[in-house]
């Protein structure tokens, strides 16, 4: 293992996480999507896809790139959601400010569990400790009725204020105008991915990846493990918090189980693994596949979750490196098949 890391520069090279072009193309497609899909129902599903794509990408930063196996990511999603909802309801702050405040609150509280977790070296310990943390948040949220109204849930969370762009056209936020929400979430998604991208392609990224491969070797090379791990933890919690805050203002109602529930975590883990853990765009591919798939399965109402469970198992078994990788492989194979006469022996598929 040690031999792999002796040249940090070479590492940096191998860490071209994603071709910026394919990221750009993806953003463009997502930005143009509402032109073709204007149905409110579909826009809602796409917005939910983006929520999970963001959550899964931030989780992937932790697990896929840093090797911190957290099962408590939903805690930060929920903390962002509740904090933002409460300050906008009780203090009448702007929901736009709420997005930022929710993220900061989640990032700050992530230190509560992030610091104790640094001492844990075996992955399942971190997994269960973080899970315990998020369950604590759930219990608090359920029982601190005077603040959160507990299981009754928060109602009438203010939605984003309308604004106009240069006085030319108005951006409105209401139940009938899902498109504005879609673009807000898309903006959050893009910013999150860009931040993760720049983090991974900078020195921090090299350090993070070397930590995942081999902590001891990384430490011996003078990588400040603690600092980088915490940076990754805070970054990912911050954006999970922002996403949670968006969720609160998007739906206007909030109950503890919807954000803090283990089911949210299960969803994020499944999405990331199905899409391809440790790949930059994998979580996004996974989110769109699973969320749209799950929605399509509503047709078979009763069998929906049965099929979902079976599909998860089969996808993991049959696509070892995730859908993204599996699809790229298919494309490569197809290319290879068509080009095989031209480039014999050059393509290594």
């Amino acid at each position: 293992m040690v031999k792999k890391i002796h040249d940090l520069k070479q590492w940096q090279k191998s860490l071209r996480v994603v071709d910026p072009w394919s990221m750009g193309v993806m953003f463009l497609i997502l930005a143009l999507l509402p032109i073709f899909i204007s149905n409110e129902y579909y826009l809602n599903i796409l917005t939910i896809c983006l929520i999970y794509a963001t959550l899964a990408s931030t989780w992937n930063l932790l697990v896929g790139y840093t090797g911190i196996l957290s099962f408590g990511h939903q805690a930060f999603y929920g903390l962002g959601a509740y904090f933002s909802a409460l300050i906008t309801i009780k203090l009448q702050l702007s929901p736009w400010l709420g997005l930022l405040a929710g993220g900061c609150f989640a990032g700050l509280l992530s230190l509560l569990i992030g610091i104790p977790c640094l001492r844990l070296r075996i992955a399942p310990y971190i997994a269960i400790a973080t899970l315990a943390f998020s369950e604590i948040m759930l219990v608090i949220c359920r029982n601190w009725v005077s603040l959160t109204r507990g299981e009754m849930g928060l109602w009438g969370i203010p939605t984003f204020e309308n604004f106009s762009v240069l006085g030319l056209f108005d951006v409105q936020f209401s139940g009938g105008a899902k498109i504005s929400y879609y673009y807000v979430m898309l903006a959050i998604f893009i910013i999150t991915l860009l931040v993760i991208y720049f983090q991974l392609s900078s020195k921090i990224g090299t350090a993070l990846k070397s930590i995942r491969e081999d902590q001891d070797a990384a430490a011996s090379l003078g990588v400040d493990i603690t600092r980088y791990k915490l940076t990754a933890f805070i970054t990912s919690s911050f954006f999970a918090g922002v996403t949670g805050s968006f969720y609160a203002h998007y739906l206007s109602i909030l109950e503890p189980g919807a954000v803090f529930g283990v089911a949210e975590m299960v969803e994020v883990v499944a999405i990331t693994l199905v899409g391809g853990i440790g790949t930059f765009l994998g979580p996004t591919v996974g989110a769109f596949t699973l969320i749209i798939g799950l929605e399509t399965l509503r047709m078979v109402a009763d069998y929906r979750m049965i099929i979902y469970g079976a599909t998860l198992v089969l996808l993991i078994l049959l696509m070892p490196n995730g859908l993204l990788h599996g699809m790229t492989n298919l494309v490569l194979k197809a290319k290879h098949f068509f080009n095989s006469r031209k480039y014999t022996g050059e393509n290594k598929v």
């Binding site: 992955a123 315990a132 299960v266 979750m305 079976a310």
Partner: protein, 292 residues
């Protein structure tokens, strides 16, 4: 001043709850010990134990001992098939730890919703294995609770002896320590994995069937024991059998006694806080070192 009889009753309740946690957790720790994976379908195997005993005793009017043995056999076979078909193909993967989590999660979701589809979401009641109550110093205890305690002690001691003395138990311990070297002894690790998975499922199902008369049977009954089970194994030290038992009773007792000074909604927080506090003090868990 709290009357001593309340304390004593809580003690019994705590021990009953603790023995359930100990049974569930020892199955989880067994799987971690040999296969180095977290089994997220463990709760559903617990649930199947509950439904198994319901079907045997209520639907088919079988005697409890017969129903219980049939359930054990069925669960063992189901679990062994799951392991062979879905888990064993993952063994050589580099992302083994995470992919095993998602596959077992998928299996869990599948079983839970299949159970919902077949049996519906009603809460079903199962009669006590042993009817009646025991009166003692003015206190009354359901015999069923005593039965759970005795059964747990017998099963755990029996299992311990099995691991300690039998050819197969030794092979399991050897494999959990170093599967390559175990192979040199003529042990087939893959077979050990399958059987370990089956036995661990039996421990979960046994807990589920014993608890079925106390908490009623439904498709979601395995969710809480699963999470608590994980808390217990980490608290006790992952891979440690005695740690799982110790952890199970610590969590069971502290949860029941917390009722005396905490509003009931806050009861669930005890185990989670306890876990984090103990991990801060002792990162490897209470008995976190491999031993049997």
């Amino acid at each position: 001043m709290i009357h001593y009889s309340i304390l004593f009753e809580q003690l019994i309740n705590g021990l009953v709850l603790g023995s359930m946690y100990a049974l569930v957790a020892s199955g989880l720790t067994l799987i971690w010990g040999t296969m180095k994976m977290l089994n997220f379908s463990h709760g559903e195997l617990f649930m199947l134990g509950g439904f198994g005993i319901y079907i045997g005793v209520v639907s088919f009017h079988l005697p409890v001992w017969l129903a219980l043995s049939l359930v054990m056999v069925f669960i063992f076979i189901i679990a062994a098939l799951i392991e062979k078909a879905f888990i064993s193909p993952l063994l050589k993967r580099p992302d083994w730890d995470v992919s095993a989590v998602v596959v077992t999660l998928g299996i869990g979701i599948f079983i839970q919703n299949l159970a919902f589809k077949i049996w519906g979401g009603d809460y079903r009641n199962v009669p006590y294995v042993v009817e009646g109550t025991l009166s003692f110093l003015g206190m009354r205890f359901a015999w069923h609770r005593i039965y759970i305690l005795v059964m747990t002690v017998i099963v755990l001691v029996g299992f311990w002896q099995f691991m300690k003395r039998t050819r197969f138990g030794m092979a399991m311990r050897a494999t959990s320590f170093d599967s390559d070297t175990a192979m040199l002894m003529g042990i087939a690790p893959r077979r050990i994995f399958t059987i370990t998975f089956g036995l661990s499922a039996c421990l979960a199902a046994l807990a589920g069937s014993a608890l079925a008369p106390i908490f009623s049977v439904n498709p979601w009954m395995g969710v809480v024991p699963l999470i608590k089970g994980f808390i217990v194994v980490i608290l006790g030290g992952l891979g440690s059998f005695s740690g799982a038992i110790l952890g199970g009773f610590i969590i069971g007792l502290s949860e029941t006694f917390s009722v005396l000074f905490l509003p009931s909604g806050w009861k669930d927080i005890i185990s989670f806080v306890l876990l984090i506090v103990i991990l801060v003090i002792r990162p490897q868990g209470l008995l976190g070192k491999k031993e049997w």
